[in-house]
Amino acid sequence: MDLNTILTAILLLPLGSAVLIALFLRRRGGLAAALSVTVGFLIMALSLDVLLTWNGQDFHVSTEWLRFGTYAFSMGFYFNHQTALMLLVVSFVASWIQLFSVGYMDDDDAKGRFFGGLSIFMFSILGIVLADNLVMLFVFWELVGFSSYMLIAHYYKTDFANMASKKAFIVNRVGDFGFLLGIVWCWNHYGTVNLIELHGKLLGHPELLGTHRAIAIGLLLMCGFIGKSAQFPLQVWLTDAMAGPTPVSALIHAATMVAAGIYFLARVFFLLSPFTLHWIMWSGALMTAFAGLCALGQTDIKKTLAYSTLSHLGYMACAVGLGYPELAMFHLAMHACFKATLFLGSGSVIHACHHEQDIYKMGGLLKKMPLTGITFLLASLANCAIPFFSGGYSKDSIITAAFLKGHTDGSVYFGVYLLVLFGALCTALYTGRLFSVVFLGKARSEDAEHAHESSPFMTIPLVVLGLLSLGGGWAVYGWTWGGHFTGLLPSTCVVVFAQAFKDLQEAAEKSGAATILEVVNLVIALAGLAAAYLFYGRAPAGDPLAAKAPGVYHVLERHGWFDDVYDWYVKQVQQRICDLIGAIDLLLFKFTFGWGSGGLAGLTGSVLRRFQTGSIHAYVYWFLAGVILFWALAIG
């Protein structure tokens, strides 16, 4: 089968699964689950087939879908090394998470709806991955937003889930508004929205990116990224999105959807002018630090991991801003593995404690759930960027890149370096806190007492993803084996970012600071973990920080009062404007059309009504009058 056919199959299989589930299997949860998981693994197999046999050449194909005068909306595939890596991440992680969901959702009544939602999500995200033009990307962008909305509101009987899903969708929409403006302006300015054509136009003409228009377009396109990847100022939806089931949080809000923003930035990197890149870099670095701090103020295990995701997305954004989109993709892939493991582990723990999510009601679970505990540990160490773990390679390279920028471009950029370093410290702190409180120490509640290891449906994906979070990064050493694999990943995916990694290492060596940087990173990580264990690990119940520094804790808990500011704005400002517009609308339409034309019609009707007297003689008189009139007209 040629590449086009396989890619079409990969894209359309989950759509078929979603349609089948929606039409026939809504009440047959078991069958729906089986179908969705089968399709998921089928997609994984097809993707691996593609990745192992791809010859490395850029592949693109497109067909015209709709034509509006001079503009043709086409759908097509653009397959390059970024696509390859993202395809691997999406298909691999998604399949295992689907398998996990079978175990996690075993006591849920609406499995059919859930797996249908997962299937439609798969279709949407694969569309983003494979899209070759911005409009098609935008269509699937919105579809992903819809799938997220549907899945967050899975427990729709609770108010909180409904509000969270609406919030997620609306905040995304705000970002997408800018995105759409950017796409339209891009078409207006460059004449095309096709990525290959855009790349061709800008190749070798870097001065084209200096114009004000190009800068504006870049900033507007960035709005889409800000919305989808929950960066400042639209980060408020991600923590509330944890109202959805844990597999959803793992798949959508950690591994794939929020990473789609980063993938998008990497795809359109050539459209982003230096000004835009600066903005992305600084906001990413700030986000890293801020989110890391907020994670220390949460007692819900999933919210902590959500802030962790925000922090890592900040890292990826920072990498793009520094000019290394390949490193951002690398970190995206590694992050997907270990964050998915962390979320799935938390899901396993939540399921075992009967849907308890407060970490201060868990404890001592390492003994009771060894597999979960060990995979969680592996993923946590990757999260903290301990060397040899997957996260270590990618995160450290980003920190190194930040340092090098400060070194070469002026000392103001050391601020970026300090921020990401501080973010790394916070990461170590909250990861240590999480692990110590949940898995070490003594059980803090009945449910934690009686917890036991989860079913194989849940533990097997944990093991697989845990192993990847351990060894995913070994590909940078260039061990090729089996002709098609480098490290634990297919060679075709690894090639480009391994090269970028090597280049970065060389640059670091040249500047002479390579070893110092590594040592600093390691020290910070270990110090953070140790401090966390000492501070949090032996606490009986309740958060020690809350007890000892309630002011600080309160700030962290309110996560910078963003939600409150937006709330105030919506209630006081936006609502007032809407009421005003509503009043004008009422005035305009009710008075003009209601009383105006409507009244006129009514008046005419009530006048003409009088003619129906029911008397034949009256009608005959009118008839006579008509005849005389006609006669007069005929004569004169």
Partner: protein, 101 residues
């Protein structure tokens, strides 16, 4: 003086006017109907007169059809009046005003 075409047409016109006045004036449905027939007859007279004076058979043949149609119309109209009388028990047109607004 020989009656010319104008004379016959005048008579037909007068008959038509009388018939029309009858439709306007009378309240008995049946008499109104008869006045309608009177109007039809006036038109047949006019047609025959013109046909005769212009030496063409077309007018007379038309009268043939008018008589046929009038007969059919009377039959159906009277059946309707009888059915109406059965329901409303009146043939006075100012009482038959159920279509009044």
């Amino acid at each position: 003086m020989q009656p010319g075409l104008q004379a016959y047409l005048t008579v037909a016109g007068f008959l038509f006017a009388i018939g029309f006045a009858g439709v306007l004036l009378r309240k008995n449905t049946l008499v109104i109907f008869m006045c309608l027939e009177l109007m039809l007859t006036a038109s047949t007279l006019a047609l025959v007169a013109i046909s005769r004076f212009y030496n063409s058979m077309d007018g007379a043949l038309f009268v043939f059809f008018i008589i046929t149609v009038a007969a059919a119309e009377v039959a159906v109209g009277l059946a309707i009046i009888v059915a109406l009388y059965r329901r409303r028990h009146t043939i006075q047109v100012d009482e038959l005003n159920y279509l009044k607004h």
